[in-house]
Symmetry: C2
Subunit: 302 residues, 2 copies
Amino acid sequence: MSKSRIAVVGFGNVGREVVPAIKESPDMEVAGIVLRNPKKIDSIKKTVSDIPVVTDIKELGKIDVAILSIPSRSIPEVAPQYLKMGINTVDSFDIHGDSIMSLRKNLDQIAKANDAVSVISSGWDPGSDSIVRGLLEVVAPKGLTYTNFGPGMSLGHTVAVKAIEGVEDALSMTIPEGTGLHRRLVYVKIKEGYDFEKISEAIKNDPYFIHDETHVYKVDDVKSLIDKGHGVHMERKGVSGTTHNQRMEFIMSICNPAAAGQVMAAAARASLRQKPGCYTTLEIPIIDFLCGEKEQLLHRLI
Amino acid sequence: MSKSRIAVVGFGNVGREVVPAIKESPDMEVAGIVLRNPKKIDSIKKTVSDIPVVTDIKELGKIDVAILSIPSRSIPEVAPQYLKMGINTVDSFDIHGDSIMSLRKNLDQIAKANDAVSVISSGWDPGSDSIVRGLLEVVAPKGLTYTNFGPGMSLGHTVAVKAIEGVEDALSMTIPEGTGLHRRLVYVKIKEGYDFEKISEAIKNDPYFIHDETHVYKVDDVKSLIDKGHGVHMERKGVSGTTHNQRMEFIMSICNPAAAGQVMAAAARASLRQKPGCYTTLEIPIIDFLCGEKEQLLHRLI
């Protein structure tokens, strides 16, 4: 089997997990790691000795897919650069709502113009969870779905706390309270000379936290609290036809970046099976994400 | 919105639930019920006064999709009849393995030759559960998935018991024991002059039961035991990249025919969005099963 050549763009929490996900896939290979910041090359070359680490994807030869494991806010600017080279892109863009829809529209035009495919918002939420949310409505079109996250570290909330003056390090945990509501537990290490009570108030009044029950704790060391485990519990109670009380649940307990990296790797494969354009996970048949011969997979999975 | 015209072929447990599923869908309407057995028409016309009940689909005018809510064993013969008229078909063919794959291959040729679409094996298992089984492997490609059914009535096992000499009426319940293993509880009403112990032995030695822990109970009335509730609990523990112990579960507790009828109705909609050919649920994007404008659905579900 000739292997698809994948470039991993970015080497943070998720990029580090995309690499093993690709390496473990018989149909793909890691052509190299692309870093946007040349200062990081030397330190990363020390941990990754078997893969080229470059700043320009052109140094890697022919690339089929670039997996963009970079912050969501950079995706709208970075994805077009690769699509314009005719390279498919995959990202886990996670700014819900209008942002996803406008990214999809923009990348769709660019992808089509360059005979490429972009699969967006393709981590675990949005991503594989989005497929579950759709499926629950296939079985019971009327009703309510609750997506309950955690317990686990929220990257977005943690970044928001770190931006507050006087915070040296922080961790924001998302605790599910059921019915789609969440409690926030925030652990902060504060800089010398700052008042914990004032920082606690600032966190609780931050837009990220103001609508949730938030508890702030002062700690001496945040690093020792970091655990990348996360989870989700989706629930739907709905109606099939005229039959009420149809109940469904999807529960996941996972290492967060490993799951995200794996779904992105699967989306890279799926991108090579779509016509030019931009897709979310809901717009791609499940079978296209899986490695192997289609008839054999169907025989086993149906 | 112009409504797609759906014919419901067969009016058993599932057909009766396909009708409300279509009626509750804003984008579809029930054009009529097609019965293969003309003797049943009069009795069904008494319960269904607002929909034409016919023996030949041609009496219903233009039809977009025929939903075949008939026994699986009849599908290979009946589906081609409609496809050859250029009418899409949907079924819930549930004979796993080779049978599904040869049905898919045969209907694919006929559908393509007649510019039609066939969606097969599109109830809840196979059907929506198949999508979940695929999705679990997207998140964790290595590992084991267990599909645990029940507690609920198994139609196939019940039919097998009823075929045994001396059995007047029967109910076979599927009880999940975990890790994909099941216990069978069989309730039988026996005909006069037959020996319960002999019938019990015959059931336990039947190919449907011989590999499972089976308990047989003698009852005076089976009808009063029938409950159409059923369920499934799928579990996967697997590996994302090189990260082990990724855990996922899908749990469903449903009225069985209502869920099957609803998924078939959704598949009828999806059939109208595919190119000619035969598809299983794994080969169709989730979004195509759902009613509504694509961008609005994506905005809400991603």
